[in-house]
Symmetry: C2
Subunit: 200 residues, 2 copies
Amino acid sequence: MGVKERKERQKTEMREAILNAALKLFSEEGYDSVTMRKIADKIEYSVGTIYLYYKDKSEIFYELHNRGFGEFYKKQLSVQHIKDPIERLMAHGEAYVQFAMDYPEYYDVMFISRTPSKELKKNEHWIEGERTYDLLKLNIKQAMEAGYFKGVDLEVAAFSLWSFVHGMASLYVRERLMMMPTEFIKPLIKGALQFLSRAY
Amino acid sequence: MGVKERKERQKTEMREAILNAALKLFSEEGYDSVTMRKIADKIEYSVGTIYLYYKDKSEIFYELHNRGFGEFYKKQLSVQHIKDPIERLMAHGEAYVQFAMDYPEYYDVMFISRTPSKELKKNEHWIEGERTYDLLKLNIKQAMEAGYFKGVDLEVAAFSLWSFVHGMASLYVRERLMMMPTEFIKPLIKGALQFLSRAY
DNA sequence: CTTAGTAAATAAACAAGGTTCAGTAAATTA
DNA sequence: TAATTTACTGAACCTTGTTTATTTACTAAG
């Protein structure tokens, strides 16, 4: 009788397998050069099978995009217990970059990869990102209440901090820091976060 | 006779025509949705003809990319006349981001795209970039001599400033600012540059 | 245990795009 | 004018996303 249940389970397992294969391939080669046939090969099924589980290639992308944001948000929350608003902001920034370094594939899909089908879901999928952006703004606001960021507009501050960490993250993920010795990168990032805090 | 000369001239004219058509199309529709057939249509020749002048689609792109790099460096230099080191640094940053906004396709290959041919041009490529990174360091050093950046390591400062402008540029180029009204983006960038200068 | 019906998976086919190449036309040279 | 070289063409090839007709595997009723 557990037939229906088993089928459900198998269906999600299949969707999972496709997703895993796709994530690996996307981060290794980028959206464009990943073909449906490569994904099919990786999971050892035929091409057509994938279309029984996902509408098209971009749907796979968006699913990964969403999961990435889920993980991401959790990481960001893990820093909220810190009392001092400045320390919390620093930790927030460090968690951001650390996420990119730990899960470069996800970071790539979330913030770097060219998004397929331009107009299609433009608004809808930013909602995911908005949560974490709001968290950043909250932390900045609290720092403001503690006397920091004097005379700075909240939107400007949020945009600045985001740009800053995204800059480091994306240079790292897309291997534009190759001319720096690996062991210097982490200290450089820490130093940069400290440098930025001079502006708080 | 000027036959040879005329042929040379016609050859460069043709290459130029292809480049112009391609640039127009690239900036209108983006690299991926520009087809060789569209370029051919635009210059009113057959598809195959293009391959007599350029090895492949990416060569057209790289040619444009190189021109972009030239423009880039010029843009950066155009700011060097500014006396005040802080104003100069601000203008430097603004020129950086403005370049990315004016030539998003160029910026993309220079600093975002995964490098297609592995080692092939990696070094040569970065040498181009190094020029402008050195320019940034020079400007920071001069600001240091004028009493700014007290207690900040030069490498950290350069990395920070680069990350910052690259962050803004790449969010813009890869369309991650879609949730902001277009007319707010420019002021936001200006505000961010001003905010960063508090750390100087 | 059979068998009709359903679900899952496949292979083949299509369209669109980058690229190649055999052939044609035009220009040049002799 | 004839031979040769150069420029160009467009059909054909290959890859990739997607669809569809068909086959295979499974399920459940009789």
